[in-house]
Amino acid sequence: MTAVAHPASRSTLRRFALWGSRLTARARVQALALLFVAMASLTLGPVASAEAPLRWASDGTANVPFTFHDPAEQTRMVGFEYDIMAEIGRRLSRDTQFVQNDWDGLIPGLQRGFYEMVADGIEMTPEHMEALDFSRPYYVTAERIVVRRDQAGLDSFERLGGHAVGTIKDTLAERMLRDRSDVKLSSYDEESNAFSDLKDGRLDAVLLDGPIALYYGEADPALRIVGPPIGHLAYGVAFKKGANQELRRHVDQALQDMVADGALHRILARWNLWTPEMVEWTGDRTNPNIAPTEWERYLAATAPTPGWEAWFYRYVGFLPLIARGAALTLAVSACAMVLAVGLGLALALTRRYGPAWLASLATLYVEIIRGTPLLIQILFIFYGLPGIGIRFSPFVAGVLGLGLNYAAYEAENYRAGLQSVARGQMEAATALNMTHAQALRYVVVPQAFRVVVPVMTNDFISLLKDSSLVSIITLTELSQTYVRLSSTYFDYFGTGLMVGAAYLLLGLPFVRLARMAEKRLAVSERNGQGRR
């Protein structure tokens, strides 16, 4: 199995809709997603040939213990689903390729044929089975209650009444809790946030899928799992409805063989996930006596590290990841700014000096771009345009999305800048027999630029931060790196300071550059304005 070490370097992948299930995502994206998927389903590309590696997708950002970045070695993917998919690939004699995609984009990407399978703890509910094809389950589990270690008396679903209970949006647990009017329910996007609120006392209990309860609850010295398993749920490998039937049969066969010969048992035992529910479902009552090595490795890697030295080394270990995120943030932002400056200037000149019909087109562009959210524009470029045959890599789509958006704002800045250049300047140039274009190029535009340098600096810093939006099209830039690191280690404070510092460091050179430019320009500007 070839896990691509750095998701940002990959050029496939997309995201979108929120698919109700174990995890969840931002609600506004959900609506968009449905729209784009509807468009997308009209024009489906061809599916990969048999020779190509078998591609499967998951959101490995903060997805313990399903598929995630090894806390001890952040560039390596691990997880029980990751191991299961690798084993399936071996049995099919196919290379497999892990594709990182944001949770919301997993199903849209599957529908568009960017990969053949999704394995990310997707519940085999009747609604899901109507929209997707599933393999046979590879894991069955139940909802579990997690409480603070000192908390007593919340050890059954019934006893949650009257308490503040947290869970993840669009999960079986949420559906169950929503029927309980006596429970004060809080739904989260990220499981790590639910567990921090539990520890901080904002919640009395968390109800979540067994594997999550184990890795986020039981693994934490401050928390524990209580009471019996509640309900029943099964995870299956998802396929696009009606497509890849033969592959699905092969996967089914492989899973069946893995149950029969104990391979699944061995994988799950290493992850400490072989449970009575699995015994019940497989009928496998053997005890191969396998040490939960992966579970212990995870505990060791995420254990609170005592002493300053340990903290120091952990943070030093983060530096390469933060540097990589920062490099991507800078690359996307710089390219987008170049585009924004060029296009913005063209728009501003057109609006001020162009023929009327062209000027109104430029105005229309500015109004449309300013009047719609950047998020929608980026999603549209990445997921919407392939519907009419225009495909961009995530990087290009990110640069285009940010650049085209900021161009509209830059255009307005430049228009103000052009207006601030005294009329006499254009007249003097005309009197010297320059053409309109020469006057603009040599006289008016250079002067307009100096007026807008401070505003441009502002915009660039703003763009640097807005570039975090490209994380929704699979680019792991600085903000995404923060989400990943902080939720892996439950360390929002230290990593937050580090990532914040990285943003500041990125912006600083541009602030200095702008100050230098302003200073240089100020020499000629002094006294100059008042006379005109």
């Binding site: 005294a422 006499g424 300047q425 007249e427 003097a428 140039a429 005309t430 009197a431 010297l432 027999n433 320059m434 053409t435 020469q438 040599y442 006289v443 250079p446 002067q447 100096r450 320009l521 020499v523 000629s524 500007e525 002094r526 006294n527 100059g528 006379r531 005109r532």
Partner: protein, 289 residues
């Protein structure tokens, strides 16, 4: 030379038949006669009309200027003298009338201004340099760059070639030491002299000045006027819109008095200043002097 022109031109002044100016002739004595055009005519404006928002700013203004002349245009504020000057190089587009400078000519018949007209204007402007009341130097370039920019960009002269000439021009206006300074660091008088050098760098046949000293205090203004006198001595043709009556009287070959969009009177400086024919001229000069 100047004296020759002033007497010569007073004789060859041609009066437009249709203006109110000609109506005034009856009170003003006999119309000078003589050859209609000299071979030395370098600029001729015929019946220029210009309307701004329904307000008639110029009404059939005609003027002929001979090579080497220095003509001052005077008149109360808002009389149209600056607009007329700007019509000569088409910074303002006349509604009707014709402008001929050297051997290029543009005739307007009230139609729209087309890109072919702009191309003609481009040719015509090659003969004309202009100096503005507010200098309009390019603030982002050094004085030397200001002078060199147009020849480099418009005439495609190599910088190495034009630089020597630009430095000569700066020396001529007394600014050789300021070549590498930015306009904002110069006094108003220095800026205006730099602006003159900039216009001269395009080797014009005619220099137009739009109130060149109005933004300057008298002492500094004198530096600028000195340059203009020197140019006159070299035979440069110059048309100056000015409020400076002392300069107009002392340096001009002819003075044009405008009021309400019309030329009221054209004449020899002494004649205009001492013995104006038209009561409007006398009234204006009475206030001005």
């Amino acid at each position: 030379m100047v004296a020759f022109f002033s007497t010569f031109c007073a004789g060859c002044l041609r009066l437009p038949e249709t203006t109110s100016f000609s109506d005034n002739q009856e009170n003003a004595g006999p119309v000078p006669t003589g050859p209609a055009f000299s071979v030395e005519t370098v600029l001729r404006a015929e019946s220029i009309c210009k309307t701004f928002d329904g307000h008639r700013v110029l009404r059939n203004v005609s003027l002929t200027v001979e090579r080497g002349e220095l003509v001052s245009i005077i008149g109360p504020s808002g009389c149209g003298k600056s607009t007329f000057l700007r019509c000569l190089n088409f910074l303002e587009i006349p509604d009707t009338g014709a402008v001929t400078i050297a051997d290029d000519s543009i005739r307007r018949d009230g139609g729209p201004w087309r890109s072919s007209d702009e191309a003609q204007a481009h040719q015509l402007r090659a003969h004309v340099g202009m100096v503005f009341q507010s200098f309009n130097l390019f603030p982002h370039r050094t004085v030397l760059d200001n002078v060199m920019l147009a020849p480099r960009v418009v005439k495609q002269v190599a910088a190495s070639v034009i630089e020597a000439e630009a430095r000569d021009l700066l020396a001529k206006v007394g600014l050789e030491a300021a070549a590498l300074r930015y306009p904002a660091t110069l006094s108003g008088g220095q800026q205006q002299r730099a602006a003159i050098a900039r216009a001269l760098a395009m080797r014009p046949d005619v220099m137009l000045y739009d109130e060149p000293t109005s933004a300057l205090d008298p002492r500094v203004a004198e530096e600028v006027l000195e340059v203009m006198r020197a140019l006159d001595g070299e035979g440069m043709t110059q048309i100056v819109v000015t409020h400076d009556m002392r300069f107009a009287r002392a340096a001009s070959d002819r003075i044009v008095f405008m009021e309400a969009g019309e030329i009221v009177e054209i004449g020899d400086p002494d004649e205009i200043c001492v013995n104006a024919r038209d009561p409007r001229t006398r009234e204006f000069l009475g206030v001005s002097l």
